[in-house]
Symmetry: C2
Subunit: 314 residues, 2 copies
């Protein structure tokens, strides 16, 4: 996997944004440590997902490219596939539940993807995707359980370790495990002494339970505000990487997530979606002790206006 | 004045944040130009005002430092004076109207200033400030009509011209003229071929009228959402600098300001206050034609939750 990450790192150079590191004297002062935020909110499409999507589509052969790409997602992966397909001249189809937020559907279409709706009560998205694939011959690129997707996401940490020296600890949010899988693999190869800890909402703690028990736990549509972590479980390959390379997992409350989003807005002037604020939530709430030099992957900034207004008005 | 700006630039090194430049492929694509945002929203206290306040207080002699500093402001300058005073070990007093937003008063006190309230119906802040000065012997550092304040604000452009090569145009918001005065002076000395254009809300167009007529116009509490520009007029020294170094002035509607704030939030993931979005508003609304390489000073990010929720919910 590390070879794949290195190759992805080269492939994404000049295509993905080299996202900046933000710091805050206030945060460092509160925590008594140096905290470095790797701001993937400033990535193309507003989230790290662009990395994996582009890395996956760019490795298709001519025949596969001609047949197009298919995915299922109502979140950042949908937009990522749409934009990556557009940049690489590959047609993309995204299967989305009929009740997905309209703004996400529009954004995905704006980037050039065809959106196929389904009724979540009547059919499963995997079945629909399979049927579409049989009809159209597209290649399925799922949101996280795919080596090229994981490798792309791992490039976040390749950049981070170039940008910040002598890191002791990296915190990353955990949903399906694409980001943590790639990030932990990269970290342990480039800087083995750096610990990697995954952060989940308490309400969606399947990966934490999986990590501690060694058995893959699942969860059904957890009611967390951190929509990027509402995945049913870690992917299979992702779980293997987590077991091998991740040092620990911690959970945070919904209240801590909201506090972190607000801190990032008001004190650091960063627009961050709830899932992207998990690492900062863990630090501010004391769910994890910071190391002297701690990096936090702020995974994305796509938050709709209703959620935002609600979060900020409290 | 340029000597003062150069001295301020040295003085602020390592004290003020070297704020980043943000760019957007979407913005560049829309406008057919390269647009560089100088993000003073990431400055200490969340606005460029820290530069001028620190530059002014740091030039006081021992006796003046011992007597403390006084200012009147309910905005970013209040917080800037409070923090600069704290860093330099100088006591600060801020005169604020009784009906100033509670959050601003708290922020100013949090940075260590003493806040003195007055009733805007009963007394004028200048008179109150003068009385306090007579009693306590503090030095008054007003928000913009002061050479050391202007010089400090000019360091934004000293940094900008180091960070971005071959700029053709700089856009800056205009309130009392501290930022535009310092910025235009710096630009015309370092890169005379770069045009400098000030942007005001249509509802608070006193500086635009002053610029075009050569006579200082005033305005009373204009009802613009861009609260940083609700100043009654340009300062005297500021007006001289504007007449000498600014190439043009343009105005934008309230609707254009709101659109710009929303664009910066949703597309660029930047928390920007309405006054800070004036330059982007001018570009997006067509109030000014971009030059091939155009910089915009995004002056601050301090926006209270009520304003923000209102802006984003539209």
């Amino acid at each position: 996997m590390f070879d794949e990450i290195q190759a992805a790192h080269e492939r994404l150079r000049g295509v993905a944004n080299l996202t900046p590191i933000h710091t805050s004297r206030t945060l460092d002062g509160c925590l008594g440590a140096r905290i470095f935020l790797k701001c993937e909110s400033f990535q193309r499409v507003g989230a790290f997902k662009f990395r994996g999507a582009y890395n996956a589509i760019s490795q298709l052969d001519d025949e596969q490219r001609a047949a197009g790409v298919l995915t299922f997602s109502s979140g950042n992966h949908a937009q990522a596939i749409a934009l990556a397909g557009k940049l690489l001249g590959v047609e993309t189809t995204v299967v989305m539940p009929r009740d997905a937020p309209r703004v996400k559907r529009l954004a995905t279409e704006e980037y050039g993807a065809r959106v196929v709706e389904y009724d979540a009560d009547e059919s499963r998205r995997e079945e629909l995707a399979q049927r579409l694939q049989e009809e159209g011959g597209q290649t399925l690129i799922p949101p996280y359980d795919h080596p090229h997707v994981i490798a792309g996401q791992g490039t976040v940490v390749m950049e981070l370790l170039d940008q910040v020296e002598e890191l002791d600890l990296i915190l990353a949010p955990v949903g399906g495990g694409g980001l943590i899988g790639g990030s932990s693999t990269a970290a342990k190869h480039v800087r083995p002494e750096c610990r990697v800890v995954g952060i989940e909402p308490e309400l969606a703690d399947d990966a934490t339970r999986s990590f501690h028990t060694g058995v893959l736990h699942t969860i059904h549509n957890p009611p967390t505000i951190a929509d990027g972590t509402r995945t049913p479980s870690l992917g299979k390959l992702n779980f293997e990487l987590v077991r091998r390379y991740v040092d620990d997992m911690r959970t945070v409350t919904e209240g801590a997530i909201i506090e972190a989003v607000r801190f990032l807005y008001y004190r650091m002037k960063l627009v961050v979606e709830p899932s992207g604020a998990l690492g900062v939530a863990a630090l501010l709430s004391g769910a994890i002790e910071p190391a002297p030099r701690t990096a936090v992957i702020v995974s994305g900034g796509n938050v709709d206006s209703a959620t935002l207004a609600e979060l900020l008005a409290r």
